[in-house]
Structure formats: C-alpha cells, structure tokens
C-alpha cells in the first residue's frame, strides 16, 4: 500500500481559547515496504501526524490518500485494519485474562472464524517473539513483554502499514534492539513501518527514510544521511562524530549506521 498525506493541517479545539495548531501543511508519503522514521522534539506534531494515517484524526484541510484514493471513501474499519496504529505505552490497553485472548480480541471482532483467528494469534505472537507467553496473564509480564504482546494484537489484524508511536520508550537496551529486529522483519515481510521515536540512534539503524518534524511542519524528508547531515542538532551520535571530522577529512563520507561509521573511522585511522 502507498499512503500519502497531502498538505495536511490539524487544529486542536478550534474556535476555543485552547486552540492549538498542531500541523501546518504536511505532505508526506509512506512507500510500500519501507521503514519511515518520524523524528522531532516533543510537541513538534509527530503523534498528531501519525494519527492521521488511519483517520483517527481527520485533517482540518488536506487529504489522506490510500493508493491514490481518498481515504475517506474507504470504510473506517477497513482503513484501520490496513493501517494498524500502536499507541504510546500500548500495554495500558491490555485487558484479557490471557495473552492469546488479548491478541484474538480484534480479529474476532471483525468476524474472522475461530481457526483463522488461532492461526493469526500464533503467527503474530511468533513474529514478536512472544509465542511462549500465549497462556500467560498479560498483567504478569515484564514491560518489554507487554509491549510486544500489544504490538502482536495489532499485527493480528494483518495490516499493510504498521505505525508505531514511541515503541521503545522505557524499554531496556537489549529489548529495544529486539524491537528494532522486529521492525526489520516486518519490512522483509513486505509491511511498511512508520516509526515515531525520540531515539535518533535507533533511527540510524532501521530507517530507509526520515521525516524531521518541527513546529507542525515537515522540516526535512529524505534518506537518513540527507536529513541528519543537514540537521546536525537532530542527528544521531554517529553523524555528530563524523561531522566533527569532515572538515579535516572530507573523504570520510556520510555514514549513518553504527557499523558503517566504525568502518569509515577505522579506514581514516589506518590512513
């Protein structure tokens, strides 16, 4: 699926003293099978932006297009199945007595048969590395396990685009790495992933493209190297290190990922 936002504006509480303009004309696409990272400071509009991707929020003006068609012409339930949204701290919404019942809830609601639901629950728990937790109570899990189970609940709907809002906040470093592995796995399975995060070092490792939000506009959109080397105050540590060497060693290039950066710096040191 190709998802497009065209000149999307959003205003919270319009016409009241609490009016806040959150998006001021954002044009952005999510290409089939890519990992698109949305970065930017608190209050820059990241969460508001992604909530337009399945019309949970409706733009004040502008359009959301699914494969070129206005998303408003699709049935809401259909749109939300195809564009799965995982909120910040999604584990807060876990409620069923067991993990498998929790993950089965939404697929059941859309009327899938028992056999199909069982298959999907098994597959989506396996995809997030939580197959062994199926019989457990979601409330007895660790933070990282809960997070993965909550993501499995959205995956079980078979989305074509998965939107993850701060999926790694509050997780330990190794669990964050596991989640990045999950994002790569989803991309290999052909699912587009939109990944909202504060952690630029994570973006460096998984993103195909980056959208840098600031004050409700997309300040820069492009490959990680394009966006980060042009916006050093919003760049991961690797890019900031290399930027400090470029003047003296222009041949160092523009590496972004950790391994690329290590290789480039080793080469520089070895002359």
């Amino acid at each position: 699926m190709r998802l497009e936002l065209r000149d999307v504006h959003h205003v919270y509480s319009p016409g009241t003293p609490f009016e806040v303009v959150a998006l001021r004309g954002v044009t952005l696409s999510v290409e089939p099978g890519e990992v698109l990272s949305i970065v930017g400071g608190t209050g820059s509009g990241k969460s508001t932006l992604v909530q337009h991707m399945n019309l949970l929020l409706v733009p004040a003006s502008g359009q959301v297009l699914v494969d070129g068609e206005d998303a408003r012409t699709l049935k809401k339930s259909e749109l939300r199945r195809r564009v799965g949204l995982v909120f910040q701290f999604p584990e807060a919404a876990l409620f069923a007595p067991t993990v498998q019942e929790d993950v089965a809830f939404a697929p059941h609601r859309i009327g899938l048969g028992d056999e199909e639901v069982r298959t999907r629950v098994r597959q989506s728990l396996a995809a997030v590395g939580a197959g062994h937790l199926a019989e457990r109570s979601p409330f007895a899990l660790s933070g990282g396990e809960k997070r993965r189970v909550a993501i499995a609940g959205v995956l079980a709907m078979g989305p074509e685009v998965l939107v993850l809002d701060e999926p790694t906040a509050g997780l330990d470093p190794a669990t964050r790495q596991d989640l990045l592995g999950l994002v790569r796995g989803l991309r290999e399975a052909g699912i587009s992933v939109v990944f909202v995060t504060h952690d630029l070092d994570e973006v460096a490792e998984v993103a195909d493209r980056v959208c840098l939000m600031e004050g409700g506009v997309a300040r820069a959109v492009g490959t990680p190297a394009e966006v980060f080397y042009a916006n050093l105050e919003n760049a991961p540590a690797t890019v900031q290190i290399v930027a400090g060497l470029k003047a003296a060693y222009p041949g160092v290039g523009e590496p972004v990922r950790f391994e690329e950066t290590t290789a480039a710096l080793r080469e520089l040191l070895e002359g």
Binding site: G41, T42, Q177, L200, L265
Partner: protein, 254 residues
C-alpha cells in the same frame, strides 16, 4: 525481589539499572511504602516505609517516568505547592518553598503558566519542583527522562546535576550515559543485586553488560570498537577530537 541487601549513604548519587522486569520499579515502591517486603527489612532514615509511610514520604520523594500523570493543578505554582498543602505547611513558608523550588529547576517566570501548555522537559521539571518543595533528603528518580526528547532530557539532567551532593539520589534509568558521574551503579536482574560497581567498571565489563541486557551507549561503544578508551569519551565532540588526534599521530608515525 529475591534477597537483596544494599545500603545507600547520605549524599551518594546512585544509579540503578537492569533489564525490564529486573526489580528496579519494585525497589522504588519498597522504598516509598507502596509495596511491603514479604520478608526482610527496609529502612529509610530509620523508618519502615510500609508501616510509617507519612514519615518516609516527607524524607524521600519519587519522580516518576511520565510527567503527564503527576500534574494536577491549573497553574504551575499550585502544582508545586500541592504536596505542601497536604502536609499542612504554613502559608508564608509555603510561598517561600514554592518560589525556591521553582527557581532551582529553572522555571522562574512560569508560576502562572498552565502545565498542559508546557513541553515534556518543562513538565518533568515542574514535577521535580513539586518534590523539592517538600524538602526531602532523598530523591528517587524512576526513569525521569524516558518520555523526553533530547533537549528535554538535557534540561532535566542539568537541573538534577545541581542537586548532587545536596541530596541523596537514586536514579533509575535505561540510559547508561546518564550515570557516568554516579558514585556507584546497582545492577538489578531477576530480582537480585547482580552488581554494585563504579561506572568505569560497568562500562568496561562487556560480560557484565551482556548478562544484564545492557548495551554501551553509541559514543563509548564506537570508541571501544576503534580501540580508544571508552570511559574518557562521553560526547560525540570528544570522540571526534580523539579520532583526529589519533589520526594525526599515526600520520606522523608513518
């Protein structure tokens, strides 16, 4: 928690790390009396937090992860005063403490702002001011920066740095780079105290890090991969400078 024994001395700055589910949050809740130990003993300045929660909460304040959950009042100054009102502090004394706490976290001029109009870093500083107004001797910070962006994180850490030495601080975090100046780091894993070490020692012990699901922050990890001393290099600028110097030395040697 499975048979943990530890002691924190007055004025120490202690980091607490470890995997999700390792026992960090349980430790915090045992310290402020939200949980009672099944066996063993917890004492905070001589008081048992589960039996004497009011004595303990005046002495030990907890800053939680998500600033959204803690702010209740219409204006910043009311929010900061909230804990004092509950303690029945007298009016002029309350004003003095609120003004002082707001200034310590660098929010003077924000007294009449509405908390919902603040950034994440500012909200977390309001929550910190609310704690400081109660004048606790011990601060427990439970992942205070995990919801913040890079600039919010810097803000909060800077204002925490000011309190160092003045307060006894326990700082729970997944970000090792926040603990490079700690006196000690406690590693909790599987409900046990897996290590009680200096930051230098933890950063250079790859085995200990791996066993406890920790990964070196990018700058020291890259320094390590390049054969540079990781504990001396904290910022990207410092690492870039070290690489420049090393490259110049090697060019001269050739």
């Amino acid at each position: 928690m499975d048979g943990v024994s530890l002691e924190v001395r007055v004025g120490e700055y202690i980091g607490v790390v470890g995997p999700n589910g390792g026992g960090k949050s349980t430790l915090v809740r045992l310290l402020n009396g939200l949980l009672r130990a099944d066996s063993g003993r917890v004492r905070v300045m001589g008081f048992d937090p589960s039996a004497q929660p009011f004595e303990v909460r005046g002495k030990l304040g907890v800053l939680f992860q998500n600033p959204e959950n803690g702010l209740v009042a219409p204006f910043v100054e009311d929010d900061v005063a909230f804990g004092l009102e509950n303690l029945g502090v007298e009016r002029t004394e309350m004003r003095r403490r609120v003004a002082e706490a707001i200034s310590t976290v660098g929010l003077s001029g924000y007294e009449r702002r509405e908390p919902h109009t603040l950034s994440g870093g500012e909200k977390q500083r309001v929550a910190l001011a609310g704690l400081l107004a109660v004048e606790p001797e011990i601060l427990v910070l439970d992942e205070p920066t995990s919801m913040l962006d890079a600039s919010g994180r810097r803000e909060v850490l800077e204002h925490l740095g000011v309190l160092r030495g003045e307060k006894t601080i326990l700082h729970v975090t997944h970000h090792l780079e926040e603990l490079l100046d700690a006196d000690r780091i406690l590693v909790l894993n599987g409900g046990r105290l897996a290590a009680d070490v200096t930051p230098e020692r933890l950063l250079s012990d790859t085995e200990l890090l791996r066993e406890n699901r920790m990964i070196l922050p990018t700058v020291p990890r890259l320094a390590f991969a390049l054969g540079l001393l990781p504990t001396k290099l904290r910022t990207p600028e410092e690492l870039a400078r070290a690489v420049r110097e090393r490259a110049a030395n090697e060019a001269r040697a050739r």
